[in-house]
Structures are given as structure tokens and as C-alpha cells.
């Protein structure tokens, strides 16, 4: 059993050494490496353009060519006003392109009111067309996509977030496979399908089941870490107060796209068998925090907020031994359910991945959080 258990003291010591080693790194080098790369999620604008043109095509088909029309676009949905404005422009342009003449109010023969509405499944766009005594209503459903949020600026450390993946699958963890030069090769995801855990990639080009049945849990937890063409998956199963954990660890080969090694389940007793929680900074309290980041001569911890899973959340950097805020928070549309520990690797430890449950659309999202030195 207890391969990991035997190693624990040595690993803990290694962790402290890592902190020390990392603190010696030149900050300039890190700032230069803070540029994020990867597979960006589709933007809202591109996803909405085609259905906007399709709706205008249907509107135009119901009116004689050359009709003078006014068009009004009302936004009653969760779309941003920027998106709504872009759609107004797209629709007006498409009307002209289809031979209808847009006109000022009073001089037009027909009026078109487009309401950007939505229901539980997606957007519903409604066009009400009034042409003299004739009227018509056209409705069109449009899949809801995800916006890329902007990153706020900050203090000593600037945190930037980048949406890498979004979808309805229940994502527990994620890891970016990197080339030796730091370029992202692929984003690997750990999906939970009730009692089956699946490794997949962001392009969904393969799916490999972990070779064990995931015990039922209402708060499942797993962590992924990448190193040297391998992703290690640690699956945590909690048993309640005072019962400790089970940990399933599997190693997945990113090169061969196959499971390399999955030892048997290991049980860890409650934490107090090792040590009492240290009286550390607040971020290491109940909230558990997390990721080791370095900037200037400071070691930083990224931590999320203290809300529950019904609340929006944020991530901010704090000094490891104090409660000093080192960055402004970056905000998320739902709880951060996982922050992947950054690889203890000299090249990549300015960025980490956050898994967020977006409460607005129900999707699970993977963000890359990148830290760079501020002014």
C-alpha cells in the first residue's frame, strides 16, 4: 500500500526544497514567460453571427424586395450589450445585403422588431414583422455560447485568466501538456460520468476510461499534473469526518494516449495522524489553497473565495506567510471547484488551471490563470 505513504516525509521535505529553489528564480525570466498560449474557446460574436444572418434571411423572405424597413433590436436576454450592439449591426447590414432598404421611422413601409430572448435551453430570437395590415412572427432558437471575460489589472502580481474550454460535461480536473519549450500541446480533461472517470482532450479526439469504478460521492475531487509526457491523476474519495481518504492514482501517457499505470486504491487516515494543521495564513484555513506561484522575491498562493457552490467566485494571490493581497482578484461566474497544483517545474509555474462551474449556463469551464509581475 503504501507506496506514497512511505514516501510522504521525503515528499514533504522535497516540497519545502522546491519552495526554496523556486524563490531563487529570476523574476524577469518569469515575466517573459507569462504569455499564455493554448486553445481558445470560441468567442460569443462568431457563434452568434450565423444565426443572426439566418434570421434576417427569413425576415427578408417574408417581405418584397426593395421594401423600406425599420429594424429595432431589443435585448431581453443575458447577452451583453456589446453582443447585442454587434447583432444590431450585423442584422442591419444583412437586411441591406438582401435588398431591403433600412429607413428612418415614419418613412418605412414595414417595421421589424427583433427581441433577443432566451429560455432554459438557449437563446430564442423573436422577429415581429409588421407590414401594413399584415403581421408575422418568426422564432429561432440559438445555442448559448460562452463569453470570454476580461481580466482585471492588479497590484504586485497581475493575474490573467483565459477560458480554455467550456462544456456541459462534469470536469473534475485538467492539465496542459507542454512541449519542452513551454508551448501547449494539448489540454487534457478528467470527466466524471457518474461512476466512470474518463480522460479526454479538449478536442474530444479520444476517450480513455480510468480502470476503476468511482465510488459514489457528492463532492468528488481529483487532481491532474503533467510532467514528461505523462499525466498523473489523483482521485480523492473522502469518507466523512475522521475517516480519511482513499486515493486512486493513475498515470496516463500523453504521447501514447493510453493508461500507463494504475496501482491499487490506497487509503490515507485522517490528517491528524500526520500532523495538526499549521497555524498558517487564512488562505490555508478551511478554504484550502493551493498553488505555489513566484513573483519578485515572493512566494504566492492562489486562493479562491470562501463562498459555497451556489456563489460566484474569484481567485487572488496572497503572500504565503501573510494575508497580504498581492493581486487584484479575477472574477468567475460560479464557484472555483478545483485549482490544479502548478507543476513543480522551473518553466511553467507561473500558470495554473482553474475549474469553474459556471452558474449562468451550467457549464464546467477550464481557465488558465497566469501570474506576471506587476509594476
Amino acid at each position: 500500500m503504501p507506496r506514497i505513504r512511505r514516501k510522504l516525509p521525503r515528499i514533504f521535505a522535497s516540497l519545502l526544497v522546491a519552495l526554496f529553489i523556486s524563490s531563487l528564480h529570476a523574476p524577469q525570466a518569469r515575466a517573459a514567460q507569462a504569455q499564455s498560449q493554448g486553445t481558445p474557446a470560441p468567442t460569443q460574436k462568431s457563434a452568434l453571427d450565423a444565426p443572426a444572418r439566418e434570421l434576417v434571411r427569413r425576415i427578408a423572405a417574408s417581405l418584397p424586395v426593395g421594401t423600406r424597413v425599420t429594424i429595432e433590436v431589443r435585448n431581453q436576454s443575458s447577452l451583453s450589450e456589446d453582443d447585442a450592439s454587434a447583432l444590431r449591426a450585423t442584422m442591419a447590414g444583412e437586411l441591406s445585403a438582401r435588398g431591403l432598404r433600412t429607413a428612418g421611422e415614419g418613412s418605412a413601409a414595414a417595421s421589424v422588431t427583433v427581441t433577443l430572448s432566451e429560455n432554459v435551453q438557449g437563446y430564442v430570437w423573436v422577429a415581429q414583422i409588421l407590414d401594413g395590415d399584415d403581421s408575422a412572427v418568426l422564432l429561432q432558437s440559438v445555442p448559448r455560447e460562452n463569453a470570454v471575460a476580461a481580466a482585471p489589472e492588479s497590484k504586485k502580481i497581475v493575474l490573467r485568466k483565459e477560458l480554455l474550454w467550456s462544456g456541459p460535461a462534469h470536469i473534475l480536473g485538467a492539465a496542459e501538456a507542454r512541449a519542452p519549450n513551454g508551448d501547449t500541446i494539448d489540454l487534457f480533461l478528467l470527466e466524471l460520468e457518474t461512476t466512470t472517470a474518463v480522460i479526454t482532450d479538449s478536442k474530444d479526439s479520444f476517450r480513455t476510461e480510468l480502470p476503476f469504478v468511482v465510488p459514489g460521492s457528492r463532492d468528488p475531487e481529483a487532481h491532474l499534473s503533467f510532467y514528461d509526457d505523462r499525466i498523473t491523476v489523483d482521485f480523492f474519495i473522502r469518507h466523512g469526518v475522521g475517516s480519511g481518504y482513499d486515493v486512486d492514482e493513475c498515470v496516463f501517457s500523453t504521447a501514447g494516449r493510453e493508461m500507463a499505470n494504475c496501482p491499487e486504491l490506497r487509503h490515507f487516515p485522517p490528517p491528524d495522524a500526520f500532523s495538526e494543521p499549521p497555524a498558517g495564513p487564512s488562505v490555508l484555513g478551511d478554504q484550502g489553497a493551493l498553488v505555489l506561484l513566484l513573483c519578485l522575491d515572493t512566494q504566492a498562493l492562489l486562493s479562491s473565495g470562501r463562498g459555497d457552490y451556489t456563489q460566484s467566485d474569484s481567485i487572488a494571490a496572497e503572500a504565503i506567510n501573510k494575508q497580504d493581497g498581492l493581486s487584484s482578484p479575477v472574477e468567475f461566474p460560479g464557484p472555483v471547484i478545483n485549482l490544479e497544483a502548478a507543476p513543480l517545474d522551473q518553466k511553467f509555474d507561473e500558470s495554473t488551471l482553474a475549474i469553474v462551474h459556471n452558474l449562468k449556463n451550467g457549464n464546467y469551464e477550464v481557465y488558465r490563470i497566469t501570474a506576471a509581475c506587476g509594476n
Binding site: 432554459v120 465510488p215 459514489g216 494543521p277 464557484p335 478545483n338
Partner: protein, 499 residues
């Protein structure tokens, strides 16, 4: 240094374990992790006579049944179906036969393994005789002579629970809790549920749920105010007061339709112009904002806006002038010298205080439009009414299934099924259903409750379905108002409920 770094890399994942153990938390876990333990106290105003899913269920019973039993499928927060006891499902023969493949290795709380045969025995009496339900191994088959395109959606709600009948007649479920105490006849009634540690989906976070039901609204309000109830089924006025004093409250999306349903065979309401006049005369805004204390929104359509996306196309504004004009045209068509028509009779559910208030307000609106109406509670054996005030709970978040469900409840049979699932087809069907004004939507009402300061991860569905297995309780020290989301001793596990 490189060799040290290499060793560190190799130990990265194990280091996460170390952090977890050292700090007593997940090393890379965010937000606040749910905590295990504690007793959740729930007070409901509705009375619950039984927990047997085979008997017709009201909302309160369904909520309690969901603690004991699972369904085959359910809706998730995105309004799409996901498997619960069923891992997959498919239809054959134009939706006349459905196969549900059950998950393996699931046990009822009495230790009996879940099989398709047991599931079939549970569902057969619930679904009724027009369905043939059978099972072999883990393959559950449901057949009907008629196509059932919406069968999975139907099975996701209502009392379509799977249970096992033990030799002594008691019922066991696969749900997150087991029944420890059941006193339905008390004043109030009382049920105690304890955690099912072996639940296939993981044990729930709270150890125990104590439910009082049939509780007087005044007592619920007092218990909530003094911290004696964690989840309190407050009446609209009490909810507003609780909210004003800073207590946490929660409201669902509008999920209940209150509508007038006419018996168009009755002479008094046979004329469609009179029914259209009634539709114009009702002040829905006042019903929603005053009578129901902003716990409702004016309804022009059958489906609420959040489900259909097009409800705004149906008008809701009051037009007394238009109503008077229609009433005059109806009156002018009567033979000269004929007696004035008798007042219309509107009946409402006698146990529904909100329905009574709404009915009385509607009568006032109609009086202003020159239509005489009397309201009275529904009684067995009473003379037939001209119009009924009907409450329809819209449990299906999928628009097509929700519309068809609403048609069934309201007795709308003269409208063909929508040709597809698109909003245009649904809008056409709904418009057609409302065209003869036999049904007049009034308001869509929300479901609401008060939440104690220690309640966490209160994540019900938009449709109002509670998820008490997700709820956990913060320790008192964590339960500061700032920490609370801004919405708002363990007994031995019983081996099976005996509803």
C-alpha cells in the same frame, strides 16, 4: 539542481496528497468544501399523508419521497435529461417501446440489488394500465400502443420513483436517506430521515433531516425567525417580511401557473366574446405584485418566459375599456326583455389561501368590467361552476414536454401536438390552445422558502425541485451573515421506510 527538480516533478501528484493531509483540506481545492454532519430542520405548511410513491403525490410528498427514492432520469440545471438509476435509454418502434439500461451494482437501502424486474414492479402501478412494463437483468422495457416521445421527460418528474417492496410490505429506496420516524397524524406531522451511508451516489452531507409538515403558517414564521427551522415554507407575506428584516430567502423561477378554466358548455360562458372580455378585464399586475406579494409574475401564456422564451408575445395588460366594449356586444345580442344573466360562479381549492385571494381579486376586476361573478370554494357535490381557478405546477423545464404536460392538466385536447421542438412550432401550438379563451392564464407563481444562516449549497433546480442531498450545514462560527450565500445526534440508519 536539475536532478532535484526531476525528483520533484516525479513527486508532484504525491505532493498534492501531502498538502491535503497536512492542511486537512484538499491541496488544490477551492471554494468552501461541503462539511459532513448536522441535522437539517424543515417545516412545511402542506400536509403529507403518505410517502408511498404508488399513491397520487402532491409537491410536498414528492419532495420527501425524493429523499428516499430515485427516479430513472432527472433534469439537470441546464434543463437537459441525465441518467440517475438509468445509465442510458433508447426508443424503438416509433417511440412505442423504450429500453432503460440500469446502472449495475446499485442496492436498495434494505440491501436488495436493483434489477430491472424490481424497477418494473415499482413503475407498473405508477404508470397505469396503458403501459406494459417488464424487466430482465438490467434492461427495463416500457411499451405502449401509442407513441411516447416524451416518456423520459415524464419519468424525470412526478412520483415516478423506483422502490423495492420488502416481505413485510415496507418500501426501500436507493435514495440518499432512509426513513427513521414517520408520524403523519401528528399536529404537526413529523418525519425523520437519516443518511444512507451506502447510497450509490455517495452519502449526503447532513446526517439527518427532521421534517415537520402541516405546520400553521404563523408557527413557521415564528420558528424561522427564532432559528428553529433551517428551511421554512413561508407564505408570500411572511417571506416578504423575512426578507425585509434581512433573513435569507429563496425563490424559484415562476413554476406554477394560476389560470381560469371555463366550462364552455355552461350557458353563462359559452360566448367566446365574454371569455375574451374576462381576459382583458383581469389586472394581472396587481395579482402578481400585491395579492401575491411579488412572488409571481403576470402570465399571458401557459409556459413561463424562462421556459418558452416567447411568453412576452402574449399580452398581459389590463384593458377595461376593451372588456366593457365586448360585454356590451354580448349583452346587445340578447333578446330584448330577457332577464339579466346570473352571476358567474368561480370556484377555487378550499385549502389554497392564495387561490382564494386571487379569485376574489378577479371578481373585483370583472365587476369593474360589468361582469358579475361570485367566488366559492370547491366542495364535493356542489353545483357545477362556470369557471375554475386552476393551479398547474410546471415541472418539466424542457419546453415541448412542459407544454404537453400543461395541455393534459388543463384538459386542452383540441390542439395538435407541436410538429417539432422548435420555438416556432411551440408558439403556434400554445397560441392555438389559447385562441378560444377557454383557458385564461393569470400569473406564474414562484416557490419560495426561508433559509437559515447555516444552510449551504442550497442548489434547487429552476423548476423548484429541492436537492437536499447537496445541502450541508456550516458550523456556527462559519455562519456569519457575510459568509452566508446572499439568496438567503445521528440515529441508526433504518433499513427501509414504511410509509
Amino acid at each position: 539542481m536539475r536532478s532535484i527538480a526531476s525528483r520533484l516533478r516525479a513527486g508532484t501528484s504525491a505532493a498534492a496528497v501531502v498538502l491535503t493531509l497536512i492542511f486537512g483540506v484538499a491541496a488544490a481545492r477551492a471554494s468552501t468544501r461541503p462539511k459532513v454532519g448536522g441535522t437539517l430542520r424543515v417545516e412545511l405548511s402542506a400536509r403529507v399523508a403518505t410517502l408511498d410513491p404508488r399513491l397520487p403525490a402532491a409537491l410536498a410528498q414528492e419532495r420527501l419521497d425524493a429523499l428516499l427514492f430515485d427516479r430513472l432520469v432527472r433534469f439537470n440545471e441546464r434543463g437537459t435529461l441525465e441518467g440517475v438509476l438509468a445509465a442510458s435509454w433508447k426508443s424503438e418502434e416509433q417511440d412505442k417501446r423504450w429500453h432503460f439500461q440500469l446502472r449495475p451494482n446499485i442496492k436498495f437501502s434494505d440491501g436488495t440489488p436493483l434489477t430491472a424486474d424490481i424497477a418494473a414492479q415499482a413503475l407498473a402501478p405508477i404508470l397505469g394500465t396503458s403501459f406494459q412494463v417488464s424487466g430482465s437483468s438490467l434492461d427495463l422495457v416500457i411499451e405502449s400502443a401509442q407513441p411516447m416521445p416524451d416518456l423520459p421527460e415524464r419519468l424525470a418528474t412526478g412520483h415516478n420513483f423506483i422502490f423495492h417492496v420488502a416481505a413485510d410490505g415496507s418500501l426501500a429506496g436507493t435514495g440518499p436517506f432512509t426513513l427513521n420516524e414517520w408520524i403523519p397524524d401528528g399536529a404537526p406531522g413529523r418525519a425523520i430521515f437519516v443518511e444512507n451511508a451506502d447510497c450509490w451516489a455517495g452519502r449526503p452531507f447532513v446526517d439527518r433531516i427532521e421534517v415537520s409538515f402541516g405546520v400553521e403558517p404563523q408557527r413557521i414564521e415564528a420558528d424561522f425567525e427564532f432559528g428553529l427551522a433551517d428551511v421554512a415554507d413561508l407564505a408570500p407575506a411572511d417571506l416578504r417580511r423575512a426578507s425585509q428584516r434581512g433573513a435569507r430567502t429563496w425563490s424559484s423561477k415562476p413554476v406554477e401557473l394560476l389560470a381560469l378554466v371555463f366550462d364552455s358548455q355552461r350557458p353563462g360562458v359559452r360566448d367566446v366574446r365574454l371569455r375574451e372580455a374576462i381576459a382583458l378585464a383581469v389586472d394581472r399586475s396587481t395579482l402578481a405584485n400585491v395579492v401575491l406579494q411579488r412572488q409571481a409574475v403576470a402570465a399571458g401564456g401557459l409556459l413561463p418566459q424562462w421556459i418558452s422564451g416567447y411568453e412576452f408575445l402574449f399580452p398581459t395588460a389590463m384593458d377595461t375599456g376593451g372588456a366593457l366594449s365586448l360585454v356590451q356586444s354580448v349583452n346587445s345580442a340578447r333578446a330584448p326583455g330577457s332577464p339579466a344573466p346570473a352571476p358567474l360562479i368561480l370556484v377555487y381549492d378550499a385549502s389554497d389561501a392564495e387561490a382564494r385571494a386571487v379569485a376574489e381579486r378577479v371578481a373585483v376586476n370583472l365587476h369593474d368590467a360589468g361582469i358579475a361573478m361570485q367566488t366559492q370554494p370547491a366542495k364535493p357535490g356542489a353545483a357545477p361552476a362556470d369557471v375554475r381557478l386552476v393551479r398547474v405546477r410546471i415541472t418539466l423545464p424542457e419546453p415541448r414536454a412542459a407544454l404537453l404536460q400543461t395541455f393534459v392538466v388543463l384538459g386542452i385536447t383540441n390542439v395538435p401536438s407541436p410538429s417539432d421542438n422548435g420555438p416556432e412550432a411551440l408558439y403556434a401550438a400554445e397560441r392555438s390552445a389559447l385562441a378560444d379563451a377557454r383557458v385564461i392564464p393569470l400569473v406564474h407563481e414562484m416557490e419560495s422558502c426561508g433559509l437559515g444562516a447555516t444552510v449551504r449549497d442550497w442548489m434547487p433546480l429552476d423548476s423548484g425541485e429541492w436537492r437536499l442531498d447537496d445541502v450541508w450545514l456550516a458550523q456556527n462560527a462559519d455562519a456569519s451573515p457575510a459568509a452566508a450565500p446572499a439568496a438567503a445526534p445521528t440515529s441508526p440508519a433504518a433499513t427501509g421506510g414504511q410509509p
